[in-house]
Symmetry: C2
Subunit: 248 residues, 2 copies
């Protein structure tokens, strides 16, 4: 048996999220279908760094699986990409030690969120950006970002539905925001993320950018641990799982 | 009755082309559905500058229609965009003289074609570029582009299936090619275009970029008026109807 780690990208538009579901087109479903075909019908189960929701994209999702095949590292990538649909691609495949686990061994995850800040709709951005037509004060957003960095309980900024073993404390190494023309990019690097956390934080940051709240309120909101105090979750199509880091 | 001219953009990915067809989702079909809803069931027929094929995009397609409504110019755009799907957008709407015709009055059309020239597949480019993994000599392509400018019979570079009233002579005001990182942009501005003409020319230019032909062969190929002498039509998803110009 060999353990293979793959870094994959996908356009989330036409997937019903990552996790396998009967009758739905999912990333895990397509990957396992390709692997099963390659293994002549033997079902190969994959493990990912985590799930992504419907419409969420990935540039660097990471998975692993075990295979009875002994192929050179470079053949895995080519063989799998031949069997995969056009919206799912293996960026990199490598043989890893048997102890590796794509979920349990994560040391850092990076998500990015993209806003297209233009009054006019751009049909080519609809699936890849959250199109936001109102003026935004980027300096206020940047000031607010700093309050999220470090270790906090993120209860206020995660889905109230989620039940999590081990509590809602997470460490953010970077929360930043930059404008490049009409594009606004949010970068989140952290030890881990709660359900809907990035999309709820971006929603709160856009409120601040519109002057509805002041940046310093973030400290109070974190303290209060109450999801009802902040606004709506921004849409899935602006979100990208950008990178997953593991110990060497 | 008022005549309305609209400049529209669409992401061609999920349309079976422009022209209305029973049981298919087309640009014309969606536009006429929205207009018919707005006119309380009265069928409003549109006229476009020309058709586009399945998967072809538009940044500046132009249409007209007649309406019994007398709305201020700025209301047409808002009213229609409210009724249209997310992949179809009215950039601009204006009331024009009754003599205007979106097809017969065209004086110039601009198409662009986008190639993504990278060895690695980018899942986010699949519907918007032709992904071409082999090295290209842009200088050779640029030299070849010049042979297409001016007035020529474009029989060699158009679909053999097309039957055209008035012959296959067209005037190209600009045929150019530029690289910006991995992106290669082709610009075509002309008096009119034959069926598949841009996609066949780009196919021939990519052959030249790979050294399979020399740039000066274009003059001979134009002369010979034989579609069989050049290679394949490149895919639809790299093609954009960019702009349509009319006399003031």
């Amino acid at each position: 048996m060999e353990k293979i780690k793959c870094i994959i990208s996908y356009d989330g538009t036409n997937f019903s999220g990552f996790q396998i579901q009967p009758g739905k087109r999912t990333v895990q479903g397509e990957l396992e279908k390709a692997l099963t075909k390659m293994h002549k019908g033997e079902h190969i189960r994959i493990q990912a760094s985590g799930r992504t929701d419907t419409g969420v994209h990935a540039k660097g999702q990471t998975i692993h699986f075990d295979s009875p095949f002994e192929l050179p590292t470079e053949n895995w990538k080519r063989a799998l990409n031949t069997l995969l649909p056009a919206d799912l691609y293996i960026n990199q495949a490598q043989i890893v030690p048997d102890t590796f686990h794509a979920r349990y061994d994560v040391v850092e995850k990076e998500y990015r969120y993209y806003v297209w800040n233009e009054r006019e709709t751009d049909v080519f951005k609809q699936n890849y950006y959250y199109q936001f037509p109102y003026p935004l004060n980027i300096h206020a957003i940047q000031e607010a970002c700093q309050y999220f960095e470090g270790t906090h309980d993120f209860t206020t900024f995660s889905s109230a539905k989620a039940t999590i073993k081990g509590g809602k404390e997470r460490t953010m190494y970077e929360v930043s925001c930059n404008r490049d023309g009409s594009q606004i990019e949010f970068v989140f690097r952290g030890s881990g993320f709660l359900y809907n956390m990035v999309r709820i934080i971006v929603g709160a940051l856009l409120d601040i950018g519109q002057g509805r709240r002041s940046p310093s309120e973030i400290a109070v909101l974190l303290e209060k641990k109450d999801r009802r105090l902040v606004g709506a979750t921004v849409p899935a199509q602006g979100l990208y799982l950008w990178q997953v880091k593991y110990e060497d």
